[in-house]
Point group: C2
Chain length 270, copies 2
Amino acid sequence: MADKSRLSLNQITTANWSVAEAVEGCARHGVLSIALWRHKIKEAGLASCVRSVRDAGLHVSSVCRGGMFPAPTEPERKDNIEDNFRAVDEAAALSADSLVLVVGGCAGVGLGEARKMVTDGIGAVVPYARERGVRIALEPLHPMYAAERSVLVTVGQALELAAAYNPNDVGVILDTFHIWWDPEIEELISKSAGRIYGFHVSDWLVPLPDILLGRGLMGDGVINNMKLRLLVDQAGYTGPIEVEIFNRAIWDSNPDDVLKQVIERFEKFV
Amino acid sequence: MADKSRLSLNQITTANWSVAEAVEGCARHGVLSIALWRHKIKEAGLASCVRSVRDAGLHVSSVCRGGMFPAPTEPERKDNIEDNFRAVDEAAALSADSLVLVVGGCAGVGLGEARKMVTDGIGAVVPYARERGVRIALEPLHPMYAAERSVLVTVGQALELAAAYNPNDVGVILDTFHIWWDPEIEELISKSAGRIYGFHVSDWLVPLPDILLGRGLMGDGVINNMKLRLLVDQAGYTGPIEVEIFNRAIWDSNPDDVLKQVIERFEKFV
């Protein structure tokens, strides 16, 4: 079993909590790390978030998220890159392990063009991030999000994109919900050694209740989170493990109860 | 543009038509090929279906579908293989180009076990099919179906499974809805040369209305069907191109109107 000391609460799992509430929740339940979302950081104000996590002695495993590079026009793409610079600033202020990039989908621009825009976008953000000591984490999303969220859909593709950069500047996020189905996942995790910036767990429910909000707690679906965690461990990753669950029913539950369950399931299934 | 002579109506696109009605529809609209579904064959009776397509001079591009091998118990798995034998018999009677296999998902048995059961199931069906002159077409499904329908999720994986057999006995179906997102799809289509038993087109709508019934007509979504068709042509495939659309709204429309639209979109976008 994974040690509870590695558990990081990805804030989206308790979507109704503010940053301050989520930080207090972690403190109350003995969770040592947290991943913050930018819309929540904006609500609370960056300075207040920095104080919250520092006062609680919490580690910030990631800031979610930059990316979303593709757009039909040049000014929009520039705006998107500017927005990524702000995301880097936030990750730097919070001393986050990395800034997660969800690179954006192909709708409106076409698949080939979207991929080029993503490569260009990463190229624009990395130097800015490096100067500020922020590592860029490329997160491949499940292929069902290729149209609307991420043309980056496999770990292999993420490693190819990352290969253009120093392993200390650009790495990958391995999220079991996004990668569990891949017939080459064992080799790909092994190939990710030295580039693994984060590991996320949740579960794939059967039937899937919703494309975006259908994730489950570990143990409620078909993903063998423990097997994947062991592979990630073997590849040398020893950092925080985020529990990141997009699920309407879980969001509507009492967040303290959710966090209790997250810890139980983490200790049993991860 | 693809020539209309290559268009095959996958019967599921006009789900409310019986086999006889779909055959008459094809004749009325100048469509030369049809793909039949087994639940529809069962409704009409196999002998009647054979007569229908023969009398109309229609070519049967495929029978959909065998597969669904994984199951928790040995007797269930045996039953599944027996059912595949019946599917082979139907494909043989209809002189179909191939029997399509949707291999089955991992829910209830686990991913590793499901993959083994699929390999074993194919191994049991191929000799039976070969003796009856039926080619087995492995169809990789989109990874979002890995839990419930198909642990076979990439063209690369399908080619690996097929490689154990003679290219005249086991090949692959390339369906744009299932494979469009794959960053390696160009190389994989090229590698499929000599094993392409069928090519299916539809579109990926944004947003996706439903995981199972959310496909659109070519031109209504993000898939570049023509680009993929040209790659498949370049790989040497000259056979029928099935239009296969799972969509509740299309199913509820007048099937004659649907078929008219299918032809228009085929001539414009494929």
